[in-house]
């Protein structure tokens, strides 16, 4: 099993979710994060001083999947999140040796979906 972690633009979350659903990936955990990457920030001004915001709002999606689902999942994320602009984000794939469903105690591949 793999743990897929994607950092995307907040505005693309609905698209990514749609694409994942279309690929039959229906479980995920979403976190509000701020990110710092290639993407330039923007300036704001407050009480006479101008300043740069370079930690930008992003959304982090965590999806645990069986190995055969890795490709469809990654593809769906890319499909939903890509605009071609800097700041589109990253996908990280980690090994996931174990997964347990709290409700039933099921383990492994049965528990993930």
């Amino acid at each position: 099993m793999k743990m897929i972690v994607a950092i995307i633009q907040p505005a693309k979350l609905p698209d990514v979710k749609n694409a994942l659903f279309a690929a039959d990936v229906r479980k995920m955990t979403v976190t509000n994060v701020i990110g710092c990457g290639q993407q330039a920030g923007y300036t704001e001004s407050y009480r006479g001083s101008v300043f740069e915001i370079n930690l930008l709002k992003k959304v982090r999606i965590e999806i645990a999947v069986n190995d055969d689902f890795v490709k469809p999942t990654v593809d769906a994320i890319i499909k939903g999140a890509r605009t071609g602009n800097i700041g589109d984000g990253k996908i990280f794939i980690l090994d996931l040796p174990e997964c347990i469903r709290i409700r039933t105690g099921e383990q492994g591949q049965d528990a993930i979906g």
Binding site: P10, A11, L13, P14, K17, N18, F21, A22, R26, N32, Y42, T43, E44, S45, Y46, K57, V59
Partner: protein, 460 residues
């Protein structure tokens, strides 16, 4: 008011209770104080509009909406001072006033019991209210500069024009059109401007789906919206009773009809939304309250308390259906300004023709009080004339502004929020806020009907 013998004498004596200005003009200081305090309350309604609108918008646009409302009084003041007051209350014909520009102590005033400064102050607060109505309807997508320009011209020209017809001695008032505190003169006029603005701007991104269905775009702070509702409600006790422009024995009744109509509006909005969505939707209850207030604004002085309850109740019912109706037409009004101010402004103006009680209306009566269709016809004339005029003028004005400055912010800015794009300042520094829409209403999963069907039961 008819006066005979003894009473007249007493009134003459009573009139001594006044302070005399240097030029010998005599003002009633009780009336003056009343009008000033009412003006303060109407002024405070700016805060009410600001927070209703801010609460019903998304966090990413909150600074923008607050700025518009905070600055609107300033813009209105200068515009009304220079041009608007003269067009509205200057001496002139049936169509428009033609003197008293650049307001000063020698300006024309329709009332003599209070100094012209007090009258101007009160009218100024009213003019700003008309402008505030628009800002909510076009929120979350309009360019700041374009709104500012529209607001200035609107307060300087459009509002005074129809205002002159209704309150400045123009043709509608000669006709007998009755709009006590401005269901038409203020609220509908603002509403028509808002409507044309929305028509030209189009809906917010993502509000309507490809399949025609609509998504709810949740307001970011119901507490702020509720605060705004309370402040508007409070301020309305200046708006309506203050419009008597004197402290006489009618004022308490006006305060009471105002209060009762708002209560009935709440009950109407609550009942209908409870029926429709199985829950009493607070955002609709607030709109219902405001709808009741807008509707009673025209008839508040000429109807009985019992009638005011009916007028308010109907307003509260109308507002809910109206919100849903505009959404069906894909007319995207984030705060319900059209349903509250335009639709119920019309309803309230009509209500004069239906419910006016002869003992309060100088012998004339509305339809239900045996006066036939006469007053109703006059009211309809006023609504139609004002509506057509303001619709055309505001449509033209928006179009001109659009062709020069553009009306709508860029897509990127709309997604990222007008606070970053237009204001360079975010509303809630340090708070972790989901900017994605998905937190609120779920998007539709056409590709996945099964998932959708499962979402029924309420868990947690």
């Amino acid at each position: 008011m008819k006066m005979h013998g003894r009473k007249a004498l007493l009134l003459i004596l009573a009139s001594f209770c006044a302070v005399f200005a240097e030029d010998g003009t005599q003002y009633n200081m009780v009336d003056t104080m009343w009008v000033l305090i009412a003006g303060f309350l109407v002024f405070f309604m700016n805060a009410g509009f600001a927070f209703v609108e801010a609460g019903f918008c998304r966090a990413k646009n909150v600074v923008n909406i607050l700025a518009k409302n905070f600055m609107v009084f300033a813009l209105a003041a200068i515009a009304f001072w220079a041009l608007g007051y003269g067009l509205m209350f200057g001496k002139g014909g049936a169509i428009i006033g033609t003197d008293s520009f650049l307001f000063s102590s020698t300006a024309n005033s329709p009332v003599t019991n209070i100094p012209v400064f007090a009258f101007f102050f009160f009218q100024l607060a009213f003019a700003a209210a008309g402008c505030s109505i628009i800002s909510g309807a076009v929120a979350e997508r309009i360019k700041l500069i374009s709104f500012i320009i529209f607001g200035i011209v609107m307060v300087a020209v459009i509002y005074p024009l129809t205002g002159h017809w209704i309150w400045g001695g123009g043709w509608l008032s000669s006709l007998g059109f009755h709009d006590f505190a401005g269901s038409t003169a203020v609220h509908s006029v603002g509403g028509w401007c808002a409507l044309t603005g929305i028509l030209i701007l189009g809906p917010r991104m993502g509000k309507y789906r490809a399949d025609g269905s609509q998504r709810a775009i949740l307001g970011h702070s119901i507490p702020l919206a509720t605060l705004g509702g309370f402040i508007l409600w409070f301020g309305w006790f200046g708006f309506n009773p203050g419009s008597q422009l004197a402290m006489d024995e009618n004022v308490p009744r006006i305060a009471l009809t105002t209060a009762l109509a708002s209560c009935a509006g709440i009950i109407g909005g609550m009942a209908v939304s409870w029926r429709i969505s199985k829950k009493p939707d607070l955002s609709m209850v607030i709109n219902g309250c405001l709808a009741g207030l807008v509707a009673i604004t025209a008839p508040c002085a000429v109807v009985t308390p019992a009638a005011s309850i009916l007028i308010g109740l109907i307003a509260g019912i109308i507002v809910v259906y109206s919100v849903m109706f505009f959404d069906k037409l894909k007319i995207d009004d984030p705060v319900g300004a059209l349903s509250v101010h335009l639709v119920n402004g019309i309803w309230g103006t009509l209500a004069v023709g239906l419910f006016a009680a002869p003992e309060l209306f100088g012998g004339k009566a509305g339809l239900f009080y045996g006066g036939g269709f006469k007053q109703l016809g006059i009211q309809l004339t006023g609504i139609a004339a004002t509506g057509t005029t303001v619709f055309i003028l505001s449509f033209l004005l928006w179009s001109i502004i659009k062709s020069i400055f553009g009306l709508r912010v860029s897509h990127e800015e709309e997604i990222g929020g007008l606070d970053v794009g237009e204001m360079g300042l975010e509303g809630y520094s340090g708070f972790q806020i989901f900017t994605t829409e998905d937190i609120g209403p779920s998007i539709s999963f056409e590709s996945s009907k099964t998932a959708r069907n499962k979402v029924q039961e309420v868990v947690r």
